[in-house]
Symmetry: C2
Subunit: 241 residues, 2 copies
């Protein structure tokens, strides 16, 4: 996901954007979804910011229709919130919401990693090991964003391995979790440096090895850790508001 063009490709001219889409075989709506998701997670679109179809459409250089579809999906995923007639906004960051996200993740994540461990193909196992290795390399990198993007691919890989498309609703939960983590990155470093990445590495390896029970235990422990972190930073989140 090379994120298209950081500069403003304002041209809705078909010539200008067709070179991007046919090769990928991806619809403009899918592109818009991933693009806006990324903007939200990286907080280029700040929490609470207004999001309009027209604005996004101009920003990424496509028409309103695919943008509209992407925005509605994002709203359905809870990444954007839509007040009845007042347009859409980026979901605010707060502890209560994050705890709900983690509650839903806890419901899904154990099943996800267990089934992935059970059903992954040899090729998927290899890619999981690669992913774990990549995490290891990023473990102490200064910029967190590459690890974030890598994390997204990790989840996609787990979903492929689990061979159950009905678990895919966990994807937006990860997006919200990544944003929460990024928003408190400075604190995170002091809270427990590298712990999250370590969990990713160990889960990836356990799944690759087919260790179902171990992967499940790790996922549980991971969520315990993430929840503790949320409560930790959430305290002065509430205090500062």
């Amino acid at each position: 996901m090379p994120l298209a063009d950081p500069a403003a490709p304002e041209t809705p001219d078909p010539e200008a954007l067709t070179p991007g889409t046919p090769p990928t075989g991806e619809s403009l709506a899918d592109l818009a979804y991933r693009r806006v998701e990324d903007l939200v997670v990286t907080m280029e679109l700040a929490p609470g910011a207004r999001v309009s179809e027209h604005g996004i459409a101009e920003r990424i250089g496509v028409g309103r229709t695919p943008v509209r579809e992407a925005l509605q999906r994002l709203a359905g995923d809870g990444i954007l919130v839509t007040r009845p007639r007042r347009g859409m906004r980026v979901r605010e960051i707060d502890l209560a919401t994050q705890l709900r996200v983690l509650e839903a993740r806890r419901a899904l994540e154990g099943t996800l990693v267990r089934r992935a461990a059970l059903r992954r193909s040899p090729e998927q196992a290899a890619r999981l090991r690669e992913t774990a290795a990549a995490f290891r390399r990023m473990r102490d990198a200064p910029d967190p964003v590459p690890a974030l993007r890598h994390d997204r691919r990790f989840v996609d890989l787990l979903l492929d391995s689990a061979d159950n498309p009905f678990l895919a609703s966990i994807i937006p939960l990860y997006a919200l979790s990544r944003r929460f983590w990024l928003a408190h990155y400075a604190r995170q470093v002091r809270f427990e440096p590298g712990a999250i990445t370590d969990f990713h590495i160990r889960i990836g390896e356990a799944v690759a090895a087919g260790e179902e029970a171990e992967a499940g235990r790790l996922a549980d422990a991971f969520l315990d850790h993430v929840e503790a972190f949320a409560r930790f930073v959430g305290l002065d989140l509430a205090a500062s508001s």
Copy 2:
């Protein structure tokens, strides 16, 4: 959900349909979603049937845009499947898919009922008890469809009570489960008459009473039952194909 008009309201004329929408305060896309979901669950749209934007738009008397949005949501939910460039079809019914659906339900459902039991308001408790009573009344009714529609409201109520919108991805799983059940209704009667309804009643009452652990146990037992049923009818599902 009075399902609008069973006859064909072919008129895209605003006058003809505005009486339906403004009172509900619901968008045409939402209406189309529920309408098509119902068509699929009741198998008025048969498994494997082709679904086109234009066809549905004519059928329910709105333009293509809201229909398109609804169809894309339904595809995202796995109720419709979209072959790359060949349009959308209603998902086929098969045992393997149903087991995946139940796997995902198992992940979510325990959390759903436990949290609903924990967080339901007194008003929600009252409505849950009403729902259970209604199920009791329908227990031995000949026509299964009313119970099916009631079931949908039951889930909505559980979701409200659980106070966690991120668990809402269970809704389409129920839709697929209801269709599976309906498709095998004749066999169901012999398999274990009324058992499903009994579970609904008991779960509703446990949640209303705030019995978190009991509700969770019931949900687990319910899924065991439903899965056994799926495997039972799935055997000759495979044999007949």
